[in-house]
Amino acid sequence: MRRVTWLGLALLTLCLLGTQATVGFTQAKPPITVALVAAMSGGSALSGEAIKRGLSVAIDEINARGGLLSGRTLELVVRDEEGNPSKGVTGARDVIEREKAVAVFGGLHSPVGLAMLPVFHELKVPYVGTWAAATAITRNGRSPNFMFRVSANDDIVDHFLAKHVIEKLGKRKPGVILENTPWGASNQEGLTKWFDRLGARPVGFEKFNWGDPDMSPQLLRLRQGGADAIVMIANAPEGAQVVKSRAKIGWDVSTVSHWGISGGRFPELTGELSESVVFVQTYSFFGKQSDVGERVIAALKARFAVKGPEDILAPVGTANAYDAMHLVALAIEQAGAADGSKVRDALENLGEHRGLIKTYRRPFTPEEHDALTENDYILVTWRQGKIVPVTMK
């Protein structure tokens, strides 16, 4: 009996020593953790998956080069916020306090990004948005500002859309149809401002609720008001109903849209009507690619069930996230430490970087925390269910 106990103790000691040894070994080069807090389930799950893919491809590249800070590998942890702001807050705290993330990437939902904002300032870790476009996420009046973004910004998108309608299409009386949500309101503000600066006044701002089946009353009001173009702020299901109602009342009018309709199955819901809408994206994997683009597509093909650009669903998520990860990596290297505050400072002072979407001269400055500007947006449409740049038609 006693002998058995001794043997057992000896064995236990050996085991402990063994684990100690391995722990000691990894502690020499602990990985650097970055986190993604985004919608990984529910209606916007596609966007979360696309962002995760973009981050993963960039992380693979960085780790293959030997990691950061002389040999520390990058590691990604993911939390699902389910589109729920309070879950986003919990997730952000969790990845920073327990997982020691030095930077947190954000997903599609603006309300979640806005809700997490105080957490990043309290815990002093930078947030880098890869999708959510609400203006106030980055332009929040905080100093130092921990919120960065490699994605569109409603205010800039609204200027882009307004300019297209007035200058390219030569229309003077746009009608706006938008969803009855904070996102809709954010764009109503932006569009009012920019149309006004361009000397035009929208004939109306018509609203709809999520799930509304028929948008013809709203469209009839715009048509009665004399609208000569439609600006649409909608996600895929409601955007589809707008386009179908427009066809129903036999109104052949130019329709330009924010990018919400690219987050779902718009072409499936509208058929060939999808080709009558042009909308905004930050990147397209179709057409001639730079060598970075070729490399990313090849990596996506190798790692995921992707055969070509048509299989890259929610492409802006992947493209924005890929560039965002590389910019964060540069900042970590420049900061010389896996420390949130230092990484934040470094982000504001990065040099030139050849990314996927563009070559960033100086991605962020203390005043400008949006890495993408209006010049980086492209206008696209659907052709046979695929997103293609308008210039290619």
Partner: protein, 289 residues
């Protein structure tokens, strides 16, 4: 513009009426309704989508299988969420059916996904012009089927033995039981029937609304409003109220703006409740004290 709005309202209103007919059948027999009726519509659309589009079955077997599944669902709802609470005269069935609806919605999100999917219909591809207004032929199908179902339900209630049993149960549970009618089973049948109606609505509306886990939520609510306005015990009243409600909604949205649509719509419900608690077409029941 007015013609266009009336057509829009007609299609929408008949959708509400279709859903509301389901409330009518169960309320008449058991004084309870399935508050998850909107979600039953969704289940109908999702099951039909899974069979017809997903599994590639031909249309008719898909529809039959869907309706069978919905009948089973109705029986289940009654057994789980209604029957246990009937005896105690509590209104726990109200919460229980709402809970089942939430469960159904979340199960659909998990299995079907939350993306809206298109349900193909050759009648919803191209709009035609009627009286100067554009309309998808499928939209005209909704009121036709709605009225047909209403007539069918009324005839079945009056002419068939089972229908008479349903009416007898509606009239007085104890008297019906004394006459040898199996009241429990009759209520179960009413739930199955109501659920089948929801299934028909789901299949019929799928091409217009697209199929999604949340497609039934608003429909269920508006359907109930219509049932209240029309008089929950009158199938005819429900159909008339449904169409009127849809048209009022469209006209208010078209002339006053979409912002006031729900305000006017639901204010109407309150007004009707105040003026005629038994609904526009219902009959005031003498209160037995």
């Amino acid at each position: 513009m007015i013609v266009q709005l009336v057509f829009s309202g007609l299609a929408l209103g008949s959708m509400y009426a279709l859903v509301a007919l389901g409330y009518n059948i169960t309320y008449a027999t058991s004084r309870t309704v399935n508050f998850a009726q909107g979600q039953s519509v969704m289940v109908g659309a999702v099951v039909a989508y899974a069979l017809y589009v997903g599994a590639g079955w031909p249309f008719v077997p898909s529809v039959l299988a869907t309706l069978l599944a919905l009948a089973a669902l109705g029986v289940l709802v009654e057994r789980v969420a209604v029957r246990p609470f009937l005896a105690s005269a509590s209104i726990a069935w109200l919460l229980a059916t709402i809970a089942l609806g939430v469960i159904a919605e979340n199960v659909a999100m998990l299995t079907f996904g939350k993306d809206a999917r298109a349900f193909p219909s050759s009648l919803a591809q191209r709009a035609v012009t009627v009286l100067g207004a554009g309309v998808y032929p499928h939209e005209l199908l909704v009121p036709v089927v709605g009225v047909a179902l209403m007539v069918l339900v009324e005839l079945a209630f009056r002419r068939t033995l089972a229908g008479r049993a349903l009416r007898a149960v509606a009239f007085d549970h104890d008297a019906a039981r004394l006459m040898g009618i199996d009241v429990t089973r009759t209520i179960s049948v009413a739930y199955a029937l109501s659920s089948v109606l929801a299934g028909v609505a789901g299949i019929l509306l799928a091409p217009l609304l697209n199929v999604s886990a949340t497609m039934g939520t608003t429909l269920g609510l508006k359907g109930f409003a219509v049932a209240i306005i029309g008089g929950i015990e009158s199938a005819r009243g429900i159909v008339v109220a449904g169409v009127l409600y849809g048209i009022v909604e469209a006209i208010v949205a078209g002339y006053l703006g979409t912002g006031v649509r729900e305000i006017v719509g639901f204010a109407l419900v309150v007004l009707v409740l105040l003026a005629r608690p038994w609904g526009l077409f219902g009959v005031a029941a003498p209160r037995r004290v």
